[in-house]
């Protein structure tokens, strides 16, 4: 039985205990808040950062994954390991992280094969790709087969994010094409998304709601569009997450999905420190993957 180590960053939108795979290791995205660097721990969680935003109007940004930490994880697990699979956030959003992962791959090419997987996603979108992939790794061990399977999962994964305040996405430099939603006279809740079918892997504008219920209707319709385009009738896996302060919004979305879309598995995820930078308070998200 081959041993395959799976690595991913800590921007997955899910808790560690929700990843049913023994050989999984997490690496951290450093977060810079008012000139000091943090990585997620008990004292510095997403709710800590949201409080800093709310109380101190703090500015925060993220950095790419640390080469040293990835190397540390690889070194610690080399023995007995046959293959390493690194699931990465979209290279369209963090080219530097992807390049570092590629450098590590080259560094170890004589010692162990590493497959870097560009998920074309962020947050719970990466989480969904990871959860589906580790499930497949229980039966698939051939590197080429793993690549193909990952690609299939990626192309069928979508993430939608409702952002009551777009400034966080803008400040974090991730606004991309969603900047079309800036400057609205009416107070709106922009809905943006990442579609696995889009090679660029950037945030795309989807629509805007005036209320959380409207934003959720837009998300639901966008999921339905994706299902109908692919001719699928069921969601294989859905992960939802919310940045607190807005429990009704995520509850409404989960209820709507439950009531109207057949879904094999639903995971109620949890945001992390680095994810709070780009989303800000009162935002919520869902990622879905089709069979």
């Amino acid at each position: 039985m081959a041993k395959i180590l799976v690595i991913a960053g800590d921007n997955l939108g899910i808790r560690l205990d929700q990843i049913d795979y023994p050989d999984f290791r997490r690496v951290h995205f450093p977060v810079i808040v008012e000139d000091s660097e943090y990585i997620e721990d008990e004292d510095h969680s997403f709710s800590w950062l949201l409080a800093k935003f709310r109380d101190d109007d703090a500015m925060a940004k993220s950095s790419c994954l640390s080469r040293e930490e990835i190397i540390e994880v690889v070194e610690a697990n080399l023995e007995g390991c046959d293959l390493i699979v690194h699931v990465l956030m979209s290279s369209g959003m963090s080219a530097a992280t992807y390049m570092i992962a590629e450098e590590v791959k080259t560094l170890y090419e004589e010692r162990i094969p590493i497959i870097n997987i560009d998920s074309r996603q962020t947050m719970c979108g990466v989480g969904v790709v990871l959860l589906r992939l580790v499930e497949e790794l229980k039966t698939i061990h051939d590197p080429e087969e793993i690549r193909k399977t990952a690609q299939r999962i990626i192309e069928n994964t979508f993430m939608f994010l409702a952002l009551p305040d777009l400034r966080y996405l803008q400040r974090g430099g991730r606004i991309g094409k969603a900047k079309a939603f800036m400057g609205s006279v009416l107070k709106i809740i922009p809905v943006v998304g990442m579609k696995g079918e889009e090679v660029e892997g950037v945030i795309l504008p989807i629509g805007k709601g005036r209320t959380p219920a409207q934003a959720n209707t837009l998300i639901l319709n966008a999921i339905r569009e994706g299902m109908s385009k692919r001719g699928v009738e069921k969601i294989k896996l859905a992960v939802t997450m919310s940045f607190g302060d807005n429990p009704e919004a995520i509850a409404d979305l989960e209820r709507k999905v439950r009531d109207s879309l057949p879904c094999d598995r639903h995971v109620s995820g949890e945001p992390h420190l680095v994810e709070a930078i780009h989303c800000g308070p009162r935002s919520w998200a869902i990622a879905v993957s089709f069979a």
């Binding site: 080219a95 006279v185 009416l186 709106i188 079918e197 989807i206 629509g207 005036r210 209320t211 209707t217």
Partner: protein, 591 residues
């Protein structure tokens, strides 16, 4: 020679600028394959699409050849019209050879040859006397000069005079050009790009001036009238002196004028010969179009299809067929009378990520009409509303253009004028009042653009339409988004009675009193606007959490209505915006 992505991007931006300056000149030459006057626009939009989608990252060093490959790919996906597709195929061929980063003169020679071959083999009916001829002559002439020069840019610069000479001979190669009295528009555009590349064109370089085609045809027809009616030599002579301006770029017309002058001086040819030439010129600019719709699609598929499979499928459906492949992405261009069938046939293989259908007949009519519109952009989402506040709101929600018609609904003539003024090839239009629809539909038939009318009955439904709009989509997907993702918003309006009336419950409304109307039914009445809104909300609210007041031009300003109502109904969130509408004092929405 090393060139980085920033440098290539900057060159491409300048080339786009060169084309943009000469756009109208190129449009005026466009007679093949269809005289729809959009070669300049199509080439410009093709470059623009690639520029927009290929932005070099300033923080990362990307080699120029990598950028060029990406640029060529985006050019292919964003290509417009025959000339745009051929240009993108050429760029793809060039970038393939240059992908190793070798920009030496010899290697560029190979790249130019590959560019030509890529364009030539990529289309189903390659024709001499077009842009393809210029592309071929470029690599041949370049090959002859490569032993004398080592700088590719210098060789290209030295090739330009020869290519211009070839361009001037295109009417001899393609009869339709000769009949219309022009050189090939795509070929002319290609030479403009080469001039830009060799930096012959700088910002001070003047645009080529060209008289609009309709003016030239007018001269032709006036001359025809004078000759037909056997007018005196003096009268015809006076017309030639007075009526002919400079910048005639139709050689055929120049020749007709020249012949007429000789005829007036007693020389040959005969009057009938000149009249025949005049008729030939007219017919070449106004042919019967066999296929009406220029249809372009981008298909994403991992199904096992190749270019030939799609070509075989579509061949019988029209002409000017081009199918280009970039791994799992296919770009399809065809002139057809059955665009829906083409879309259905292609859709069976995968997903369409882009579709565009241009009505060439309409474009052609516009092109040769007296009041032709120079299209400046691909599409406009145009809203017609009453209220300056709503104008701002809709623009910020994603409308491209908004007409605030104030108190008086626009006439057909005004609507035509406004639609034409948008200078957009395709327009999606929606109005805030059903009464405008009839005039709007008539105006659409008279306008110079392809127009889709979205039927709406209030400014609130326009807001609901724009909610699902993501922006940056092609025309068909925008219509789809607006229709399919429409979010219905419940609302009522508050107005002042201009004559006595009654509510649905039979309560009497005196002249001057206020009433609230919901779905055409008067629900409540009263003297105080905010109390009326509160009582109407109590009747109509079905668990909505947000109530928005859009204040009309006739409502009292600074009422802080939302604040007052918030205090009375704390379970609901209230917001207040200025709409500026004239018909109602308030629109009140429940969401």
């Amino acid at each position: 020679m090393n060139i980085d992505a920033q440098r290539v991007h900057s060159i491409m931006r300048n080339l786009h600028h060169s084309l943009l300056k000469q756009k109208n000149y190129l449009n005026g030459l466009n007679v093949f394959p269809v005289p729809d006057g959009d070669t300049g626009l199509n080439m410009t939009l093709t470059m623009q699409a690639a520029l927009t989608n290929t932005l070099p990252d300033r923080n990362v060093d990307i080699p120029g050849e990598t950028y060029l490959r990406e640029f060529a790919k985006n050019m292919l996906l964003g290509s417009r019209g025959c000339s745009g597709v051929i240009l993108s195929l050429y760029c793809k061929g060039v970038s393939e050879v240059l992908s190793n980063g070798d920009f030496s003169a010899e290697h560029v020679s190979e790249a130019l040859r590959n560019g030509y071959e890529s364009a030539y083999t990529g289309i189903s009916n390659p024709t001499e006397g077009t842009i393809l001829t210029i592309m071929r002559e470029l690599y041949r002439h370049y090959d002859e000069l490569v032993s004398e020069e080592s700088d590719p840019a210098r060789i290209i610069t030295r090739s330009i005079p020869y290519l211009k000479e070839v361009l001037s001979r295109t009417p001899e190669m393609l009869p339709v050009l000769k009949k219309a009295g022009v050189v090939d528009s795509g070929g002319a555009g290609f030479i403009i790009l080469l001039e830009g590349l060799s930096q012959e064109l700088d910002d001070n370089h003047a645009s080529r001036k060209a008289m609009p085609v309709h003016s030239l045809l007018k001269i032709n027809n006036n001359l025809r009238r004078l000759l037909r009616r056997n007018r005196s030599h003096r009268e015809i002579g006076a017309f030639l002196k007075k009526g002919i301006a400079q910048h005639i770029h139709l050689r055929k017309l120049e020749s007709i004028i020249d012949q007429t002058r000789r005829f007036l001086n007693g020389g040959s040819p005969a009057r009938e010969t000149i009249l025949q030439d005049i008729d030939d010129l007219n017919s070449s600019w106004d042919p019967d179009l066999q296929y009406r719709y220029c249809t372009e699609l981008v298909l994403d598929t991992s199904a096992l299809v190749d270019e030939q499979q799609l070509k075989t499928l579509l061949m019988e459906m029209g002409d000017s067929l081009m199918v280009l492949q970039d791994i799992d992405v296919f770009k399809i261009h065809i002139h057809t009378n059955i665009p829906d069938d083409v879309i259905d046939a292609v859709s069976q293989f995968g997903q369409l990520s882009f579709s565009k259908i241009d009505d060439m007949k309409k474009q052609h009519r516009n092109f040769i009409s007296d009041r032709s519109v120079e299209y400046e952009r691909e599409r406009s989402l145009f809203c017609i509303v009453s209220g300056d506040g709503f104008k701002d709101i809709l623009l910020s929600m994603g409308a491209d253009d908004v007409l605030d018609y104030g108190r008086r609904k626009p006439s057909v003539g005004q609507l035509v004028k406004h639609i034409n003024r948008l200078a957009a090839k395709n327009v999606i239009v929606a109005a805030d009042d059903r009464d405008i629809l009839m005039a709007l539909k008539y105006a659409v038939s008279l306008s110079k653009s392809n127009v889709s009318v979205l039927e709406s009955d209030s400014v609130i439904s326009l807001i609901g339409m724009l909610m699902g709009l993501s922006g940056n989509q092609d025309i068909n997907r925008t219509v789809h988004e607006v229709m399919e993702r429409f979010i219905p918003i419940r609302f009522f309006a508050v107005a002042r009675a201009v004559k006595p009336s009654q509510t649905i419950e039979g309560d009497v409304i005196r002249k001057g009193e206020l009433f609230a109307i919901h779905q055409g039914v008067i629900v409540t009445s009263g003297r105080n606007a905010l109390e009326l809104i509160e009582s109407t909300l109590n009747i109509l609210r079905e668990g909505e959490s947000l109530v928005t007041l859009y204040i009309g031009s006739g409502a009292k300003k600074n009422r802080a209505g939302a604040e007052v109502l918030q205090a009375r109904l704390p379970a609901v969130q209230f917001e207040e915006y200025y709409g500026g509408q004239h018909k109602y004092l308030y629109y009140v929405t429940l969401e």
